[in-house]
């Protein structure tokens, strides 16, 4: 049992929850994740470790309510318990001083990429962070990112904050300006990771993406998390979650993420009705 010690609503759909998990807190490194199963009937879902406090023995997760399990997670309060948390899973980010790093986050991806950016910042890299959202009110983690970057750029679809357009356009601009870039890291929705990789590929600009395939055990035992990288099947949970962005078959990943759409819709309805009952 893992006790929730803090909880914060960051937006309509995004929450941060801090849980007691001392062994994981001590061991985890940037880029790693945990598997969470809320209760006996629950599904095992992977969530990035967005921060950890080894002294307090806590880890924090930031999640977006997209379906049944993340919605259920959002209903848990301080003092409640999560039945199972396992980790830290996956390979840590290879952190070293690359030189100049551009870190791109899309939506929630900004929060999920934060520990990676922080580690690269602390390793002495010059960090240019690009955060993006549909509009100003959805721009999040700006303050947090400012602390761990040397330059912070913002892109919104409607131009209500920062640059009007996509983060890939900002990246292209940096490249066109002749800025020396040694590494690009992108964490976000699959289409964004695909787009960023497409921009950097012609320049041979090393690009790391953090993939989010569907997982079950996350220990390498089932193969649900199969992704094709460089023409070879890899297991996202144990071989990743980070891969060379230029090698990933994004089209396949996107299709595989739709495997359970029907069931997810059914469960969404179930959540709505259960939640109604709880409220009443």
């Amino acid at each position: 049992m893992f006790k929730i010690v803090a909880k914060e609503k960051l937006s309509d759909v995004i929450y941060r929850t801090v849980v007691e998990a001392p062994k994981i807190a001590r061991k985890r490194k940037a880029g790693q994740f945990v598997v969470v199963k809320i209760d006996e009937q629950g599904e095992r879902i992977p969530l990035t470790i967005s921060d950890a406090d080894p002294e307090a023995g806590t880890i924090s997760i930031v999640f977006q309510t997209v379906g049944y399990t993340t919605k259920q997670l959002s209903t848990l309060k301080v003092g409640d318990h999560i039945l199972d948390i396992a980790g830290p899973m996956g390979h840590p980010t290879p952190v070293k001083n690359y030189g100049t790093v551009v870190s791109i986050g899309g939506g929630l991806g900004t929060a999920l990429g934060r520990p990676i950016t922080e580690a690269l910042y602390k390793a002495g890299n010059h960090v240019i962070a690009i955060i993006s959202a549909r509009n100003k009110s959805l721009v999040m983690f700006e303050e947090e990112m400012r602390k761990i970057s040397h330059e912070l750029l913002i892109a919104t679809d409607d131009g209500s904050a920062g640059f009007k357009g996509f983060p890939t356009q900002l990246l292209q601009k940096l490249i066109d300006e002749g800025r020396k870039i040694d590494l690009v890291v992108c964490v976000g929705p699959v289409p964004l990771m695909a787009a960023v990789s497409k921009v950097t590929k012609p320049y041979g600009l090393k690009t790391i993406v953090s993939l989010n395939p569907i997982m079950v055990d996350a220990t390498g035992m089932c193969g649900a998390c199969r992704v094709t990288v460089g023409g070879v099947t890899r297991f996202g949970c144990v071989d990743g979650p980070e891969f060379d962005g230029h090698q990933v078959d994004y089209d396949e990943l996107m299709k595989r993420l739709k495997t359970y759409t029907e069931r997810e819709q059914e469960m969404n309805q179930r959540f709505a009705s259960q939640f109604q009952e709880v409220k009443r």
Binding site: M89, T219, G223, E252, Y260
Partner: protein
């Protein structure tokens, strides 16, 4: 001339008037609609009748066929005498999981294969009797907790809670050691809980075995991935005197044919894990599973049978077994193949899948196969299947489950530099005592042998426990109080 109806010990086999007692089974029309166990167990009457068939050989051949050397005539005799709980205690002298082995051991290749009665008639149903005694003990609350020795002061970590880990833990705790099992998943039992389906091994049985170990004092830490959360070396540095690695061979193999990553292609491990461990068959559980109309299961072993029979129970209209050799070469247990056939599995034997075809959205729509014929024997002694030219055909399926085997999990070797592996990735360990290439680290079960059987994994766990006991006492002799630890009785309280 030697009379073939009289055995070496002089038993007259002609006197075998009682035929082998069949175990009542759930009707196959009914059972494919549920996940309850297929064979329903002997009644005491049937058990005693079957027990009476055993000739009580002085030199029991059956015993040499059992990997852990259970005293078979002795436990059967106790059943014949009506002392069922006593029979279960007898079994537990050699086998800590009789209710499991009685169900899933390949008996027809082990104890029953060499039973003397089998020379003339069908063998004594050793497995069925074993199951009966163990079930009696469990369901009648007759489980006895052995008297434990004084705590020895030694501490042993067991990594993995499959049959190898469980049996090692049981033996070690009975020798007075403090034992902690670390299990990566949220439930203990290894393949017994995530792989083998409910209808063949009810999870309640595994749970009660685990409860028993806990009562003996074994601590189980779930959600603990060793190599990630803590390494083997860290365990050794943090107060454990020895580590037993029993992490199994859980890494699923794929075929490397085109189309393997289409939606609707599962490894057997994933399919079974979703249904067994995550209980996707029960709508109250959240984990999803695809419910498709026509499923091809590739492979011919127990795992393939389990996946296929599970698929039938999930309401699949047609389930095909696609296997590249013929029925005689199928590694699955005869009973499982028979049960599967009764339940309506359809067999495409001498058939090799070459490609999975998909639609534009990335979903499986057919499996392309080639017909095979048997050629010369290969290294395994089985005749090698060779493709028949121009025999390609399409199997109309919307889901494919791949059950062609598993290999060793690399996490422990990767994170434990002192532990060496063979070219296949299995941990190198002494066959007799499980000693690996690193001092204080022992290993056993599928991680050492590659995918094998429950009983072999248990046997390895037991042997390693003995070696670990000797090792820790030698390593820190000061702790070794005279006599403590070694004597334990299984007397009932």
């Amino acid at each position: 001339m030697k009379d073939p109806t009289v055995c070496e010990e002089g038993h007259n086999l002609k006197q075998q008037k009682t035929p082998r007692q069949r175990m009542p089974e759930q009707d196959h029309h009914q059972r494919i609609k549920n996940f309850s166990e297929v064979p329903q167990g002997y009644t005491p009457e049937l058990a005693r009748l079957e027990a009476s068939r055993c000739l009580q050989c002085k030199k029991p051949l059956c015993r040499s066929g059992c990997p852990v050397g259970i005293d078979i005539p002795a436990f059967i005799k106790l059943i014949a005498e009506g002392d069922y709980a006593g029979s279960a205690r007898k079994l537990k002298e050699h086998n800590s999981l009789p209710a499991v082995c009685g169900r899933v051991c390949p008996q027809e290749d082990q104890c029953e294969k060499v039973c003397i009665v089998a020379k003339k008639f069908t063998s004594v149903a050793v497995g069925n009797l074993e199951r009966f005694a163990a079930d009696y003990e469990r369901t009648n609350g007759a489980i006895s907790i052995p008297e434990l020795p004084e705590p020895s002061g030694y501490k042993v970590a067991v990594v993995g809670s499959g049959p190898a880990g469980l049996s090692a833990a049981g033996e070690l705790v009975k020798k007075g050691h403090e034992v902690v099992i670390f299990e990566a998943l949220h439930k203990a039992g290894g393949v017994l809980v995530y792989g083998i389906p409910e209808f063949r091994l009810p999870k309640a049985i595994v749970e009660s075995e685990i409860e028993y170990l806990k009562k003996l004092g074994v601590k189980i830490e779930l959600n603990s991935v060793i190599g990630k959360m803590e390494t083997v070396d860290e365990l050794l540095g943090n107060g454990f005197d020895a580590v037993f690695v029993a992490t199994g061979a859980g890494l699923p193999l794929f075929m490397g044919i085109p189309g393997e990553n289409f939606c609707g292609v599962y490894s057997a491990n994933e399919y079974l894990t979703r249904v067994n461990l995550m209980k996707a068959y029960d709508n109250g559980h959240v984990t999803p599973i695809l419910k498709k109309k026509r499923i091809a299961v590739i492979g011919g072993g127990n795992v393939a049978m389990d996946a296929a029979r599970t698929a039938l129970r999930m309401g699949t209209e047609e389930v095909y077994i696609v296997y590249r050799r013929s029925r005689t070469e199928m590694p699955a247990r005869i009973e499982e193949v028979k049960h599967g056939e009764e339940e309506g599995l359809r067999f495409h034997l001498l058939t090799n899948p070459v490609r999975i075809l998909g639609d534009e959205k990335g979903w499986v729509k057919a499996l392309e196969c080639t017909k095979m014929e048997l050629g010369e024997p290969d290294a395994s002694g089985r005749r090698r299947p060779v493709p028949v030219p121009n025999s390609e055909f399409l199997l109309d399926v919307d889901c494919v489950i791949i059950a062609i085997g598993t290999s060793a999990h690399p996490l422990i070797p990767m994170t434990t530099p002192g532990v060496k592996v063979n070219p296949r990735g299995n941990i190198i360990a002494d066959e007799k005592n499980g000693q690996t290439t690193q001092e204080g680290v022992f290993a056993g079960g599928d991680i050492v042998t590659g995918a094998a059987t429950v009983i072999l994994a248990m046997g390895a766990g037991k042997q390693a426990a003995q070696a670990i006991d000797e090792y820790v006492r030698k390593k820190r002799p000061a702790l070794n109080r005279a006599g403590s630890g070694l004597a334990h009785t299984s007397a009932r309280r």
